[in-house]
Subunit: 473 residues, 2 copies
């Protein structure tokens, strides 16, 4: 086993996870506005389960009845049959555990108007507490292994935790007051579900907005949550309304500003850019004598990197959302030593664009038209018949690559492009379904050497094309 820590079982409260890989909640837009579990939702999570992550967090479902776009619901008993089937199907499909993420959100309008925490009366606040408690009970009744309370991003509980919570009463202003409602929710949930039902929280370790909080506040917040009996703490960053860019006629989408970039960092950001948040919060917990496990997320898709985060004590669990969307079989393939067959997320954030537009969230690397990741047990790689010339040319600051189609016994799914330059190790810079690729990130005076592999539905990779070197003027 090359990554013994990543694939070691791990205990979270009363739960034994088969490994340290967590699928964080990721909206699918596969449900209707009725919020009921449907066949597409079942297929999506069964597919995730087949890949064998340790913990699957089902996308956020509303604890209340407020209108929204396509979003699952857990705000009434009428949703229980679907949710029960989802839990059962996930359990049957793999060894991983499954918890729903439960969410409360405030109102937004297409005009750009949004309700803020300052607008809520004490009765409404009490209602939020009650709704979370009742939803958590439903999660337990539906057969889930626990429940995750959504306190991150632009949503209600995160907005209470925010350093920009401007309420003038006991629910705002100071850190203690900002933590009051989230604490009441945790206490209510714990009271309703009992001591042994795992309860996790996901919250922002840094808001990534002007005047927002960072690790110096997130540490004490996590310590308090742990003292209140939270079984795990999953750290996110950003995703706030405060810096969102309003598109006229569209509801405000909280992932359009820099805080959105930090929440779902694209190809232009370094790997693991938010790991310092998990590490900082975990250090606060450790200093307070607390060992509640911490989940790190944010561009962690390389198994060696994931292993190092665990070994260095920066986190206890590794969350990977987009990499598991691109290839749900990541955990299984890596555990079996078939890391080369992983279809690798290129962080192009087409999935994010689909979410923003209320369209079904898919991966651009999947075969055209698919709404689920492909499955294949085939082990025969694609090949190029005869020569496979790769050509590259520099023009106007960019390198343009072209190659011929490869062949496969099932179907070629795409082409992965690799690049090396003097002193820089070869790395995967992108993938494409088309027979070409444009590299916009080249520096003057540098020679870049490219080569390409084709891969099929199972992620089996062909041999490399001959390499081509392009000298940038």
């Amino acid at each position: 086993m090359r990554w013994p820590t990543l694939f070691s079982p791990f205990r979270v409260g009363s739960l034994e996870l088969p490994n340290r890989i967590v699928l964080p909640a990721m909206v699918t837009r596969l449900s209707g506005e009725d919020g009921v579990v449907n066949g597409d939702i079942l297929d999506r999570y069964v597919r995730f389960a087949q890949g064998e992550p340790g913990l699957i967090v089902v996308e956020a479902m509303a604890v209340h009845t407020a209108k929204s776009g396509p979003l699952l619901r857990i705000c009434g008993d009428e949703f229980k049959p679907g949710l029960t089937e989802l839990a059962a199907r996930v359990h049957a499909a793999g060894p991983g555990k499954v918890v729903p993420q439960i969410i409360h959100f405030l109102k937004i309008a297409r005009s750009g108007w949004r309700q803020t925490v300052a607008d809520l009366g004490l009765e409404e606040i009490r209602g939020i507490v009650t709704a979370y408690g009742e939803a958590a009970v439903r999660a337990r009744e539906c057969g889930y292994d626990g429940v995750e309370l959504h306190m991150a991003h632009a949503y209600t509980l995160s907005s209470f935790l925010s350093a920009r919570n401007g309420r003038k009463d006991a629910y705002g202003g100071s850190l203690a007051n900002r933590m009051r409602l989230p604490s009441e929710v945790i206490e209510e949930v714990r009271r309703k579900v009992g001591r042994d039902f795992p309860v996790g929280v996901r919250f922002d370790g840094e808001e990534c907005i002007k005047g927002g909080y960072s690790v110096p506040d997130a540490g004490p917040i996590a310590v308090r949550m742990a003292q209140l009996g939270v079984d795990y703490i999953s750290l996110s960053a950003g995703g706030k309304f405060e810096d969102a860019i309003h598109r006229p006629g569209a509801p405000l989408y909280p992932y359009t500003g820099y805080s959105g970039d930090r929440c779902m960092p694209g190809a232009d950001y370094p790997d693991g850019l938010n790991v310092y948040i998990a590490a900082g919060v975990r250090a606060h917990l450790a200093a307070a004598g607390l060992e509640n496990p911490v989940v790190a997320t944010g561009k962690i898709s390389n198994p060696a990197f994931a292993e190092s985060i665990l070994v260095e004590g920066k986190a206890d669990l590794i969350g990977m959302a987009r990499p598991l969307l691109a290839d749900p079989d990541w955990p299984k393939k890596v555990r079996e030593g078939r890391e080369d067959a992983v279809i690798r997320c290129v962080y192009g954030n087409i999935c994010k664009m689909l979410d923003e537009n209320f369209r079904k969230v898919t991966c651009t690397l999947w075969p055209a038209g698919s709404i689920q990741a492909p499955s294949s047990t085939d082990r025969e790689p694609p090949r190029w018949d005869g020569a496979a010339p790769l050509t590259g040319a520099y023009r106007d600051g960019r390198v343009y690559l072209k190659w011929p189609a490869a062949q496969d016994n099932e179907a070629v799914q795409g082409y992965a492009v690799y690049r090396a330059s003097p002193g820089q190790p070869e790395r995967h810079i992108g993938s494409n379904k088309a027979l070409g690729f444009t590299d916009p990130d080249v520096a003057p005076g540098t020679p870049y050497t490219y080569r390409v592999q084709a891969y099929d539905l199972g992620g089996n990779r062909s041999g490399f094309t001959p390499s081509v070197t392009v000298q940038i003027p």
Copy 2:
């Protein structure tokens, strides 16, 4: 010597620095709009030099004649007498080396309008290259030890490097094109000053704005700069116009958004939050076989932390701006083992507010009315005559502390407040000149233990008050 690396001499190009501590360029607003070195400017840099940092970077001075607020100028020979005196006085006052930072900026208006890189004609671009070259020659002629090219934040060369540089010609769009003008400036400067005159660059390792670049671009940018003969690379972050908040009637100030927070992180951010940038860029350089030294900045004020950054190979030099403003004697005191006598920056960013309003930049910790840091060779600490009761009370989410005045043979300069909580080590949470302090960052259910020290003009500290514990409900 407790911090042997931090205080080891270090070679930068042809220059031998006495230690690894750099004062990064920090605007003082002490000059008039004429841009001429005056007595206040001389006093400010002499005071810095007396504290013995390894390298002093004099605040940005304009290479061109465009109008601005109070700002030094190096755009004509008429500025050379003042600049020559400044270099000579700094050299006479301490062992450190001194270089000016030279800047080109685009036009901004009180209406919020700003000129962008897309507005510049090729003639104007050529003029920028020429102006930098001529200014660098003046820096050498005035007796400086080198020159630093400002390519960071919201200014012209940074805006060309930016991933949001939207020029459609050879100076924008792709990474290679974005680097074209900065590269031309480096080549021109090097051509004009000769091979042995040290030339440094300061640029953003991450823009910290939506759609901005981060380390994956900053690495190749630094490699290219190093190949062009830059002697050191100083990394900053953010400070951009794109997310600045416009105050009606005031010119846009590029440190008012989140990118401004990241450039000059306040008390709410963790220490060393931008170190990953320097470390990432340095790794890119190392992979390309380049050893050009890298300066890390951003809330590094603890000597043990600074030493660890060097020892772990994350940077070669440590920049500290606000800590040296608060106490220019930081390097000298720490080297002499008198770390306890350092007057510690509380990252309250009053200095930043003064800069924003074109007011003389001072430190709120200095005695009231001072425009320079105090100097004192006194070693007698303040004391409290008789009992020094510290009282603390919780109210509305905050802890309110009060204490009586201390006495000193010279003058009490302020009071440092320390806090501990279960499992959390005692730490300095703030300083105040008044006889009280409000702590807004307390968590429910936690007991906090406070104590206070008085300090005098030399930073000598009294004994602690008796401690007081406040239990948060």
